[in-house]
C-alpha cells in the first residue's frame, strides 16, 4: 500500500520534482563552482581555441563542452555563469516581491484614490516596453550586478502587485478583519497579521515564475551588451560571444543556450507545480 502511495505521489508530482531537481543541481553547481569547475572562468588558453565538445571529432576530455574563441573552458564558464543567473534571479525576486507586495497591499486595502494612483503606476509600467526601459536605465546608470538586479526586479514587481491586490481585496471585508478593526487593532498590524498571510501562497507562486523570467531577462540584457561586465561569464554574454562563431563553433552558443533553457524550464515547472499545490484558488 505504502509503495503505491509513493508511486501515486511521484506520478502526480513528477514534473514538479523534475524542475526542482534541476534547480537544485544548478544551485549546487553555482555554490560550489570553484570546486566543481575544472578551470577558472576567465582562464584563457590561446593554444586551445575553439576546441569542440569531447564527443565530437577533435574534442578531448580536457574540455568536456569544448572551448570558446579565446580557449576558455565552456563547461567552467557555464558553471560560473549559473552563479550570475541564479543570484540575479534570486535578488530580483526578493526586491520585486518586496516592492510589488507592498504596493499591492496598499492598493488593495485602501482602495479609492490610493488604489487608482498605484494601479495607474502599474499600468504605466506594463505599457512601457521593458527592454527599452532596461537598456535606457542601464546605459544611463551603468551596468554592474546591482543595477542589473534592480532593473530586472523592475520587470517583475508588477506581477506581485496585481496578485496581492486581488487577494487583499477579496479578504479585506471578511468578518475577522472587521472584528479586528472594531476592537481597535492598528492598521499596520491588521495588514501584517490578518491580510498579508492570505497572499503568501500566491506570492510564492508568482516568485517561482518570476525567477525564471528574471534569469531570462538577465540573459537577454547581457546578450544585448548592457548587462553585468563583459568578463563575467554570464550565460547571456556567452551567447553573445558565440554569435559570430555560429558557423564554425556552434557549441559556444549551444551550451549556454541549453543551460538557460533548462533552468528557465525548471523554474516554470516548479511554478506550475506550486500553483497546483498551494494556490488556494486552485485547491479543490
Amino acid at each position: 500500500m505504502r509503495r503505491s502511495a509513493t508511486s501515486v505521489f511521484l506520478r502526480r508530482n513528477a514534473l514538479g520534482l523534475l524542475g526542482l531537481t534541476i534547480l537544485v543541481i544548478v544551485a549546487l553547481a553555482a555554490i560550489f563552482a570553484p570546486w566543481v569547475a575544472p578551470y577558472g572562468p576567465a582562464k584563457i588558453d590561446l593554444m586551445a581555441r575553439l576546441a569542440p565538445p569531447a564527443w565530437i571529432d577533435g574534442g578531448s576530455l580536457k574540455h568536456l563542452l569544448g572551448t570558446d574563441n579565446l580557449g576558455r573552458d565552456i563547461l567552467s564558464r557555464v558553471i560560473y555563469g549559473a552563479q550570475i543567473s541564479l543570484s540575479v534571479g534570486a535578488g530580483a525576486v526578493v526586491i520585486g516581491a518586496l516592492i510589488g507586495s507592498f504596493i499591492g497591499l496598499l492598493s488593495g486595502y485602501f482602495g479609492g484614490i490610493v488604489d487608482a494612483a498605484l494601479s495607474f503606476l502599474v499600468n504605466v509600467q506594463l505599457a512601457f516596453p521593458f527592454t527599452l526601459l532596461a537598456i535606457f536605465l542601464l546605459s544611463t546608470f551603468g551596468g554592474g550586478f546591482t543595477s542589473v538586479v534592480v532593473v530586472v526586479a523592475l520587470a517583475t514587481w508588477v506581477n506581485y502587485a496585481r496578485v496581492v491586490r486581488g487577494q487583499v481585496m477579496s479578504v479585506k471585508n471578511q468578518e475577522y478583519v472587521e472584528a479586528a478593526k472594531s476592537v481597535g487593532v492598528p492598521t499596520d498590524r491588521i495588514l501584517r497579521r490578518y491580510i498579508l498571510p492570505n497572499a503568501f501562497s500566491s506570492i510564492i507562486v508568482v516568485a517561482s515564475f518570476s525567477m525564471a523570467q528574471a534569469i531570462l531577462t538577465e540573459a537577454a540584457l547581457s546578450f544585448l551588451g548592457v548587462g553585468i561586465g563583459s568578463a563575467t561569464p554570464s550565460w547571456g554574454t556567452m551567447l553573445n560571444d558565440g554569435r559570430s562563431y555560429l558557423q564554425n563553433a556552434w557549441w559556444m552558443t549551444a551550451m549556454p543556450g541549453v543551460a538557460t533553457a533548462l533552468t528557465v524550464l525548471a523554474g516554470n515547472l516548479c511554478g506550475d507545480w506550486l500553483q497546483d499545490r498551494i494556490d488556494p484558488r486552485l485547491r479543490k
Binding site: 574563441n69 561586465g229 559570430s244
Partner: protein, 504 residues
C-alpha cells in the same frame, strides 16, 4: 470562333510575359546600386571635419576633390591641381584644372581654393583640419584664376600630404549655408554627388553629371552602417551587400560564398592598447610601468592564435620602410615586467580599466586576452565596452580611463605618423607630452635634406618606443568581402574609392 480563340491566346501570352517580367529584377546589371557595408555610419559630410578613413573618408573622397590625391601606393596624383612646383623653399605653386564645376553649377578657380582653406583655419574646423598647423601655411596667394601660391613660414616636407586632406567645396554654398546643412547635404566637384543620408543607416550617392573626369563605372553607391560583423557577412552571402569592410581572420572564410570572395591585403593601421597617461590610473604616468605592460603581453602568440598569423607585430610607430631599424618589438618577458613594476613601486599591481569600441571587430577579444596577460603581473583588469560616439569623444579629449584598443595612421609618411603623438595633437589620445620628442618631429618636418630628416625621424621613433605611450600590438589585418560581379583593388589605408570599382 477561331478569331476569338486567337484573341484569348494573345491575351494569355501577354499576361504570361508580363508575369515573367515582373518576376525578374528590373535592374540591368550596371544599374543596380553597389552597397558597401562598414561597421559604422558616416560621421559628418562636412569635408573639413574629416577624421576617419572609412566610411566617412571614402564618402568625402567620392563627393569632393582635393588639389592632389594619394593613390594606393601613397603617391600624390593630380586632381584639381594638374601640376605643381616649388618656387623657393617657402613657396609652392599649383596650376589648377580648368573647366571644373561643382554639382550646384558654381565654377572652380583659385579663389574657391582660397575660400575653402580660409574656412579650414577657423573654429571648429581647425580642431580637425591640420593643413595650417602641420605645414606652417601662412598665405594663400591667388596669382591668376588657375594659378595658386602657397607660402609657408618654414620649409615643409608635408605640403602634399596635408593637401590630400584639404577638400574644396562649392565656395558660395559653404559661405552662405549653415554648417549643419553643409555637413548633411554636401556639394563638391567629385565623381559622385549627394542624394540622401539616413543617419545611422545609409548614405546614397549617384554619379555626378558635372564631373570633370571619366564617369565612374558604378552609377549608384550606397554606404551602409552594419555594426555587426556577422550581419555584414550574412548580407554579403545573401547578395544584399556587395562589399564588406572589416572582417576578422576567424570569419574570413565566411566571406567566400557562391556570390562573393574574400580579399586579404596587408594593413597599415597600427593597432595598440593606448595608455591613458592622464586617466584614472596615475601609475600609468610612469614610463617603467608602461614598458612593463609591453613586456607582459605575448603579442606574437596572440597574432598566431587569435589573428591566425595574418599580420605582424609593430616594429615602430612608423610603418615600414621608414621605421628605425634599430628598434625591435618588446619581447614577451613577464619577469622583466614584474621587475619594472617593482622598481616603479607597483609590485602588487593596480586596478586597470580596459576599454574598446565596436569600431574594430574583435576589440573585446583582444582586450580580454591582453587583460589576462596583465593579470600575471598583478594588474587587476576590469572591462568596459564603450559606445562608438562616446569612444570618439574620449579619444579626442584624451579622457579614456586606463588602456584602450585603438588603431591610428593607416598611411606611409613618417612625418605624419610621428606627429600624432606630439603634445596636444587631436589624435594624441594617450595624453603623452614630451617636448624633446616634439622638437625632433617639428624639426624633421621642416628639414628638406632627406638623410638629415631620416636621422631626426629615427631619433624621435626611438624616444617614443621607449616612452611607450602605447602597448604596441600589430598592424590591422585588412580583410574584405566583395561580390563576384565586381572588381576592385583594395587599399591598405582603408579608404575605399567607389569610382574605381568596375563590373567584371
Amino acid at each position: 470562333m477561331i478569331k476569338g480563340n486567337w484573341t484569348r491566346r494573345l491575351v494569355l501570352l501577354a499576361g504570361l510575359a508580363m508575369g515573367v517580367t515582373a518576376l525578374t529584377p528590373v535592374y540591368a546589371q550596371d544599374a543596380k546600386p553597389v552597397v558597401i557595408a562598414s561597421s559604422e555610419d558616416i560621421i559628418s559630410l562636412d569635408p573639413h571635419m574629416l577624421d576617419s578613413n572609412n566610411p566617412t573618408g571614402s564618402a568625402i573622397w567620392s563627393i569632393f576633390d582635393s588639389l592632389v590625391r594619394r593613390d594606393k601606393d601613397g603617391q600624390a596624383q593630380p586632381r584639381l591641381a594638374t601640376s605643381w612646383e616649388r618656387v623657393d623653399d617657402l613657396t609652392w605653386r599649383f596650376h589648377l584644372r580648368e573647366g571644373v564645376t561643382f554639382s550646384n553649377g558654381e565654377a572652380f578657380n583659385a579663389e574657391a581654393v582660397k575660400v575653402n582653406f580660409a574656412r579650414m583655419d577657423t573654429a571648429p574646423f581647425n580642431s580637425v583640419q591640420q593643413l595650417h598647423d602641420q605645414t606652417g601655411l601662412t598665405a594663400v596667394n591667388v596669382v591668376d584664376d588657375f594659378t595658386l601660391d602657397l607660402v609657408t613660414a618654414a620649409p615643409t616636407v608635408n605640403m602634399l600630404y596635408w593637401l590630400e586632406e584639404a577638400f574644396v567645396a562649392a565656395p558660395a554654398y559653404i559661405t552662405d549655408t549653415a554648417p549643419d546643412v553643409v555637413a548633411s547635404a554636401p556639394i563638391g566637384s567629385g565623381p559622385y554627388k549627394f542624394v540622401e543620408w539616413r543617419r545611422g543607416d545609409a548614405l546614397v550617392l549617384t554619379a555626378s553629371d558635372t564631373y570633370w573626369g571619366d564617369a565612374p563605372a558604378v552609377k549608384d553607391i550606397i554606404f551602409r552602417a552594419v555594426p555587426e560583423m556577422s550581419s555584414r557577412l550574412n548580407e554579403l552571402a545573401a547578395g544584399t551587400v556587395d562589399i564588406v569592410v572589416g572582417i576578422t581572420p576567424d570569419a574570413a572564410a565566411q566571406a567566400n560564398t557562391d556570390v562573393s570572395d574574400v580579399v586579404q591585403i596587408e594593413g597599415l593601421r597600427k593597432m595598440h592598447m593606448g595608455i591613458s597617461i592622464k586617466g584614472e590610473q596615475p601609475a600609468l604616468a610612469d614610463p617603467r610601468v608602461r614598458q612593463a605592460l609591453n613586456y607582459a603581453v605575448d603579442v606574437p602568440t596572440i597574432i598566431d592564435s587569435l589573428l591566425g598569423g595574418s599580420t605582424k607585430p609593430l616594429l615602430s610607430i612608423v610603418n615600414p620602410p621608414n621605421n628605425n631599424p634599430d628598434l625591435t618589438p618588446y619581447s614577451y618577458d613577464p619577469e622583466k615586467a614584474k621587475a619594472l613594476m617593482a622598481e616603479a613601486g607597483f609590485a602588487d599591481g593596480f586596478p586597470l580599466t580596459i576599454q574598446w569600441s565596436t569600431r574594430f571587430d574583435g576589440g573585446k577579444d583582444v582586450s580580454e586576452v591582453v587583460g589576462s596577460f596583465l593579470e600575471a603581473i598583478n594588474i587587476k583588469p576590469t572591462y568596459e565596452a564603450v559606445e562608438i560616439g562616446q569612444f570618439r569623444e574620449a579619444l579626442s579629449s584624451a579622457s579614456l580611463k586606463g588602456i584602450y584598443f585603438q588603431g591610428w595612421a593607416a598611411l606611409i609618411n613618417p612625418s605624419v605618423e610621428l606627429v600624432i603623438l606630439t603634445c596636444g595633437h587631436v589624435d594624441n589620445s594617450s595624453g603623452y607630452c614630451n617636448p624633446d620628442y616634439d622638437k625632433l618631429v617639428i624639426e624633421a618636418s621642416q628639414t628638406l635634406d632627406d638623410a638629415k630628416r631620416q636621422e631626426l625621424e629615427y631619433a624621435a621613433q626611438a624616444i617614443i618606443w621607449n616612452d611607450a605611450p602605447w602597448l604596441y600590438l600589430w598592424r590591422l589585418p585588412n580583410i574584405f568581402g566583395i561580390s563576384k560581379t565586381l572588381s576592385y583593388e583594395f587599399r591598405a589605408d582603408n579608404y575605399l574609392e567607389p569610382y574605381l570599382i568596375t563590373y567584371k
